[in-house]
Symmetry: C2
Subunit: 214 residues, 2 copies
C-alpha cells in the first residue's frame, strides 16, 4: 500500500484556494483534466446515481463571457463583504477578498474553466433536501481539486456565477434540467509549496453527544 499518513495529511492540508498563484500563461493538457475527473468519479453520490457531468471550457470568448458574468456579481458582492470583514476585524477573510478580487479581474485569463454539473434540478421542498442533492457533487469537486494539487495544478472553488446561472447556461448550451455547482478556474500553480491555513483548534468547533457540550 502506497498510502502513507504523512502524504494524505499533506494533500488535505496544502490544497489551498489558489487565486494569485495560477500560471495564466501555461496551457493545461486535456488529458490532465480528464485524469482528475477520473479520480473525482471515485467520490460518493447519493443512491450511487453518478449524475455528475463536467464541462471543460477553453474557448477564449466563452471564458471571457463567464468572467464578465462573474465580475458583474462580484462587483455587487465583494466590497460589501470585505468591508464587513474589516469592521469585524476578520483580517484573514478581508485578505481572502482582496485575493478573490484579483482572481475576478484575471478570471478570463485562466486557461481552463471547469464547471461541474448535476443532471436534474434541486428538489422542491425543505431546503435540507436540497443539501442531499448537492452532497452528490461537492465531494467529487473537492476530489478533483485534490487531484489537481497532486499534479502541480490548482483552482479555487467558486460559486458566485451561480447567481447568474441561467446566463451561464446560455453561454455554454446547458439544458434547463441541469444544475451547475461551481466554476473552477484551473491552471498550473506558480511553485508547488503551499502552507496549511491558520485555523482554530478542532476542539473549538466540536461538540460531544449534545450541542455545546465539550
Amino acid at each position: 500500500m502506497t498510502l502513507h499518513l504523512e502524504c494524505a495529511d499533506e494533500l488535505l492540508s496544502t490544497t489551498r484556494a489558489v487565486r494569485k498563484r495560477l500560471d495564466l500563461t501555461r496551457p493545461v493538457p486535456r488529458d490532465v483534466i480528464l485524469d482528475c475527473i477520473r479520480l473525482s468519479q471515485q467520490a460518493p453520490t447519493g443512491s450511487n446515481q453518478q449524475t455528475w457531468r463536467w464541462l471543460v471550457v477553453t474557448d477564449a470568448a466563452k471564458r471571457r463571457a463567464l468572467a464578465d458574468l462573474y465580475r458583474a456579481t462580484a462587483a455587487d458582492y465583494f466590497p460589501k463583504v470585505r468591508d464587513r470583514a474589516r469592521e469585524r476585524g476578520e483580517t484573514q477573510t478581508a485578505k481572502v477578498y482582496d485575493s478573490a478580487q484579483y482572481l475576478a479581474d484575471h478570471l478570463h485569463e485562466a486557461p481552463v474553466h471547469v464547471i461541474p454539473c448535476l443532471l436534474g434540478r434541486p428538489p422542491e421542498g425543505p431546503a435540507v433536501r436540497v443539501g442531499g442533492f448537492f452532497a452528490s457533487i461537492y465531494p467529487a469537486v473537492w476530489s478533483f481539486n485534490l487531484a489537481l494539487r497532486a499534479r502541480g495544478l490548482g483552482t479555487a472553488l467558486t460559486t458566485l456565477h451561480l447567481f447568474r446561472e441561467a446566463e451561464a447556461a446560455k453561454i455554454l448550451g446547458i439544458p434547463d434540467d441541469v444544475t451547475q455547482a461551481a466554476l473552477l478556474p484551473v491552471a498550473y500553480t506558480i511553485g508547488d509549496t503551499f502552507n496549511p491555513a491558520k485555523r482554530p483548534p478542532p476542539e473549538t468547533i466540536t461538540f460531544f453527544d449534545t450541542w455545546d457540550s465539550r
Copy 2:
C-alpha cells in the same frame, strides 16, 4: 515534499463508502476524530466563513435513537429504489442498496456517529443558492472521510436522516438555526485494502466548451 502522485491517487480512489466492513467492536479514540476534524478545517468555505461545527456522538442511547430515525426513513425509501435499480439492470446500485440495508440494520452499533453541521439555515430563494450554502460543508465532510481512511477508519456519507432533521436535532439539542449536513457512522475498517469502484471512462461524462460536445 512528501506529496506523491501515487499516494494521492490511491487515497482518492480507495476511500470507499464502508458499510459492511466497519469494525463495530473496536472503540474509536476521541483524538483520532479530532485529528480528522483538524484536517477537514483545511477545506474551503464560502467567504472563508468556517461556519462548520461537528457533533460527535458516542452515547449509546443517542446512537440508537438516531439509528431508529434512520431506519424509519430507510424502510420507506430503500426497497423502492432497490427494486427500481434492479428493474433497470443497475446491478451496482442494487448491490449498494443491499449494503445500505446492512448498514441501516447495524447503525446503532457503529461506535461513533459524526454529524457535520453549518451555523445558519439554507437561504430562501433559488435552489442553486442553497447549493452555494452546502458547498461550505461537503468538501470538509469529504476531507474528514479521506483523513479517516488514511488512519485505518472508514465511514459512509449518509443524508437519509435529514428527512427527519428536526427529530434528530431534538435528540442532540441542536438549535433551530443550525443545519445538519450528514450522518457519518465511523469505525475502524476490517482490513485496509479497498479497490477503486468500477466507473465509466471520464470521457463519457465530460463535455468541451459546449454541452454535449465531446
